[in-house]
């Protein structure tokens, strides 16, 4: 009887210890499985983020290349051609002795040089907008809006309630974003009216953009476009983001927000 009781006690003890141990082991396995799943999700998220960053970088590089090509073309076809013609006129000036002809060629050469200077100014203005440099972002956007409205093809309304200081590089980014949006509207939307608003505070600036054109039929196609990718890329550089409005059928509707200048972390990087 004594031995049977011992065996039962040992069994009870073993069962109790094993039960508790298995319970604890179950908790550990559950936790490790959960943790593994979270790590897998994190890795997937990081991979997507990296892919997205690469896409933005590619768009940025493509945009730079496109801009360089455009400047090269402007210089070659415009300024280069006009300088070549001017050179020809000057060569004739040396050989011809007729004063009337001399005067005529001189005037033509001067006109060409004037045109060349205008072209150089335009290229230079495209590279670094003078109005932005001199008067700041708000005036530069207002200037763009006025120029387009004066053309009669489209009515652009710009409202500003933002008062603050912005980093020069950030100002240029915003200027290019607005340029890109207006170009898209003119080229693709068929809109007759554009409404833009700039608002925010010292730390953050927001910009809303609406037109009454065809709108975005497919957001993913719009996102994939080089122009839009450039906008997102520029916003990303300014720790900003782009949000599409709910109703895109009656024209494009976007809201963007970004910091007004680099943070300390950005400067360290």
């Amino acid at each position: 009887m004594g031995e049977t009781a011992d065996i039962t006690n040992i069994e009870l003890l073993l069962a109790g210890m094993l039960g508790m141990f298995l319970l604890a082991l179950g908790v550990v396995f559950f936790f490790l499985a959960y943790q593994r799943r979270i790590i897998k999700q994190q890795k997937e998220h990081q991979a997507k983020e990296a892919e997205y960053q690469q896409q933005l970088m590619r768009a940025n590089l493509l945009s730079q290349e496109k801009e360089r090509n455009r400047i090269g073309k402007d210089l070659h076809d415009g300024v280069g051609a006009m300088l070549s013609t001017s050179k020809l006129y000057f060569r004739h000036l040396e050989q011809d002795g007729n004063p009337e002809k001399f005067q005529e060629l001189k005037e033509k050469a001067m006109d060409l040089l004037e045109e060349t200077m205008t072209s150089v100014r335009r290229v230079s203005h495209d590279l670094k907008p003078v109005v932005l440099e001199r008067l700041g972002l708000v005036e530069a956007i207002a200037n763009m809006a006025d120029q387009l409205s004066e053309s009669g093809a489209i009515k652009v309304c710009f409202k500003n309630s933002w008062r603050g200081q912005m980093d020069k590089e950030y100002e240029l980014n915003w200027f290019r974003i607005v340029q890109e949006l207006l170009n898209n509207t003119i080229k693709h939307s068929g809109a007759t009216e554009v409404y833009m608003e700039l608002f925010g505070d010292q730390e953050q600036v927001q910009f809303s953009y609406h037109d009454n054109g065809v709108g975005l039929t497919n957001k993913s196609t719009a996102k994939a476009g080089l122009g839009m990718q450039n906008i997102v890329s520029r916003l990303s550089l300014m720790q900003g983001e782009l949000r599409y409005g709910e109703n895109q059928e009656n024209g494009i509707s976007l809201t963007m927000k970004a910091a007004t200048g680099p943070t300390n972390n950005d400067r360290e990087e």
Binding site: N9, M20, F21, A24, L25, V27
Partner: protein
Amino acid sequence: MDGSNPFIKLEVWLKVSYFLIYIPLLIGLFRLKKLSPLQVRILVIVGLSFLNDTLTYVLRIRVEPNLWVYHVFVPVLIWAMYRVYVMSLTSFSINLMRWILGLVVLFSILNTLFLQSMDIFNSNAIVASGILFILLSLLYFYELIGQKKAQDYRITPMMWFNIGVLLHYSGTMVLFFFVNSLREQSVDIMLASWVLNMVFTGVLIGFYSTALWVKQQT
């Protein structure tokens, strides 16, 4: 010197279990300069266990009472465990943790004074501290689940330490609960209980060693 004598077997198991603690102790001392602050605190626990095991072993060889060592060891171990968990349980109230730990320490002292005197194995205090350590261990898992960013547990010393604590104290809980009544049972049960204790101590020592071995994730 009959090898089949259960007392000799028990003696062998005891010797093995006493010397197991040397493994994490040597790892910790070997890597002392490279240890993170948390690992140093884990090493303190290993050091305390070493002192406890050595002292009880020496007293046992000299046939002197050694159970009083456990009465001293339990409150000190609770304090050392608190120092490890307070570094990791950041989202829990430190004051609440101190109160709970204080209550368990108080219980272990009252247990020594009124329930299990110095010449009796303080199983009540060990079970109470075991419950506390299991609770801390589960709280650590709970805190990690709440974090948005998962850590790579293979290189997180606290994770190894915590798993070891949970498995050891869960496994030995029932044993320590009945340990004093087991003394009155047959030698076979005593032997079985010591073997089981050694197995779970081995598990704990293995996890302690890994916690001291891995490079702290920064």
